[in-house]
Symmetry: C6
Subunit: 75 residues, 6 copies
């Protein structure tokens, strides 16, 4: 991966923070399964399964907690 895949946790607003949380969640997957072709093949397996989507949302929630705290909750 290029050097600039995670330059900072600071974002301009909550929306960019939420998108960074999604990026972090995907990075966690990418480092475990670096092969993009495999990841693409697996996509329908979870994107059309309710419990898998809940699990994905949970990882985003955990990462969003980190990003939100880093940004002092954009208060």
């Amino acid at each position: 991966m290029s050097e600039q895949w995670l330059p900072t946790l600071i974002t301009a607003n909550p929306e960019e923070g939420f998108q960074l949380a999604i990026k972090l969640s995907r990075l966690g997957v990418k480092f475990t399964q670096p092969d993009a072709a495999v990841r693409d093949r697996l996509r329908p397996e979870y994107a059309e399964n309710a419990d898998s989507l809940t699990a994905a949302s949970q990882v985003v929630a955990i990462n969003f907690a980190t990003v939100a705290q880093a940004n002092n909750y954009w208060r």
Copy 2:
């Protein structure tokens, strides 16, 4: 999505904070499965399954922790 889907984490009271936590949980799902028709089709799969409901409540709990802290617990 429109620009205003997450303008702030600050809410007037705990009830609005809890509803924001629910919204964040659903946003986590939407970003993984952007197709509303698929999400609607999956709904009965988890809304009528006890363990799926517990899992959904867990994601809300994690997001509520973030929102509550952002609001200094509405003390």
Copy 3:
């Protein structure tokens, strides 16, 4: 739901705080499955399953962390 379903996170003592954590956990379920008849039907599915009870206890634990912090741990 009536307006007063979550007036505050502040409680008089740890016991009331734990009960609030249980209430928050159930609220997370209610917002996903608003139909009380369905929730009642699902009850035996998890109340008599060991892993489901552990999962329910985990959601309570996450919410209790929030409530306890809101109350400065009733120190």
Copy 4:
């Protein structure tokens, strides 16, 4: 339950704090399944299953985080 089931989160040391975390985890189960006979019947289901034991340990870990913070980590 008697009034004194959770008088305080403050404990004398880490060991008592860990035991309180276990108690909190069991309270989360008790409130969902108040019938002790059912809980006893379910016990072998998870006490002899590796994944169930890991899940139980996770709930204890979450509650221990709360208790440890309440006690300022017994520093």
Copy 5:
């Protein structure tokens, strides 16, 4: 168990902190299944299952968060 199974959360460095997190994770299991013979019998069930190992690592991660905070991150 002897009185000295958890004397302190303070450790000399991150490595000892990580090992304490592992100990805490195992203590959570021991209190639920005190019979060492049963735990030994269950060991292959999870030590050779990828998802079980991930779940075990998650409990360690939660406990490590507590230990790291107790030690002010060994800064």
Copy 6:
């Protein structure tokens, strides 16, 4: 393991912090299953399963929260 497997939680930037979170997640697995041959054999079991990858990403997220806080979010 050699003595230097976790010298510090402090990293130069978020990217190194994320990689440390991955390392911590793998350490949690290694301590439970020290046999590298077994771990290698299990790898395809989760690296090609969507839910397993989500679970792995969740452990990384939990560890990243710890590392990010240790580094004061690299602010």
